[in-house]
Amino acid sequence: MNEQNDLMILDAVERYIRGEMLPDERLHFENLRKSNSEVDQLVVEHTLFLQQMNRYAERQDFRHTLQDVHNGLSEQGTIDIEPAQRGRVVQLWQKYKKVIAIAATIAGVTAIGLSMLVNTVAPATKDPKVIELANKVNEIEIKTDNLDKKIQHVDNKTNTTHNTDINMAVNVYGTGFLIDPKGMMITNAHVVKNSRNIYVENNRGERFRAIVLKLDVSRDMAIIKIDDDRFKPFSALPYGIRKTTSELAEPIFTLGFPREEIVYGEGYLSAKTGFNGDTLSCQISVAANPGNSGGPIFNRNGEVIGILSTKETKTEGAVFAVQSKYIFQALEELKGNPLYKHVQLSTRSSISGMDKVQQVKKVQDYVFMVKGD
């Protein structure tokens, strides 16, 4: 099933539920629904969703009516609070308005008199220290002004990134996966290298901004990091990253986003080296589509053994992957930056004993769609 197919099915499901199908099409669709449990399930799920959407829309509409009516009546003065019900402070104020006014006048006159008295008594010469102090205050003011400008500048910068994120037109898709619980990820270089803005999206539809830390075009690999306050770091990753080369014929599975859904694929390690004997790559046999690139390749213990990268066009089923040991190498190079000096990759996998369904369930939250514009 590809993207276009998915779109047509969901569109048909929606028209079916909304009763927008002609009798012929409807009959055809009902037969499809009977014979295909996946379609049937989609109908059930989407019916629930549309019901929720309708209720949401209805309540929004009703709230607008309420607000309109309230504002209308309020303008007419029909529902205003009556004077007798006003708060006590207001009543007191009205009662004692005059008295307060007189008291205030007396206080004002006294204050003016006092300040005049102080002025005449105080020495006329200006103390040089006071002037110096004032200059200093001025200086400080200028400094804070500059600081303010700088802050504003930074603010502007962050604002622009926020805005572009929202209105971004997506050009490139790929997959990425976390290599540390705080948001460091691996993906393919070609997904991110020409992009001004990058974001990643998990299988729950949540989107986060990300930045590139390291780009290796020759390996087609990039280390990126989620840079978004809404991202809550995980406590640990369920999978480890393998440091050594894997065995021939070892069964493997992949997770990736060739479409808007996360897709599972399985196969085996078919050669220990990659294209033309490249020792940092390996060859795997698995069904893969463009959006899969950058995705993790797991062995049966739930360890990451590679990163899905290029697909050789001539040979069917031959996919190349960067071996996971290269991740360690790439990270070493990144450690020159003190910020990432202490990042440790885990080699232990907490899902090794589980069956595949459980393993996939555990790891899918750590695999992201990567998009760039």
Partner: protein, 186 residues
Amino acid sequence: MKEAINEKELLKGLARNDKNAVETIYREHYKIIQTLIINNNGLADDARDIFQEAMIVLYEKARSGDFELNCQIRTYLYSVSRRLWLKRLQQLNRYSSDLVSTDNVVAVEDDLEEHNRRDAEFDMMNKAMGNLGEPCKSLLEAFYLKKKNMQEIATDFGYTNSENAKTQKYKCLVRLKKLFFSHYKK
């Protein structure tokens, strides 16, 4: 008797989100709720919030097919508002003794339970919509809330044709469903 028929018509209008019906009910019953709230530690804004929430409870009850109100609209709105305000006061750690007195009230606990459930669902959808970002949010609102067709949406959003708009809508919809169901199924 005449009044009973009248109220039935009003509720039918309310269920249709008919502005006249809403205004009639508002005009007749707002002040009594406002007095209740203000006499019990509340402000005019609180009164508006509570009354409008009570109206939503009544609206939802009126929309459910098997609805029958076995008391006057006034009594119902009063009972619901009173419960809502008591709850709000508890949340604010404030307390008002007057509210405990046995006024003319009916049992509304079941309705409020249903209301709370729907409230939570509304919040989930609202949150999912909020997390969607633009242009997805506006696009889906145009289709599902404002009931525009794909041709209009294509024009409004500057897509070259309705097929492109459809593809974009599909992508946004898949994401909204994910965002919504990730909370709904919990």
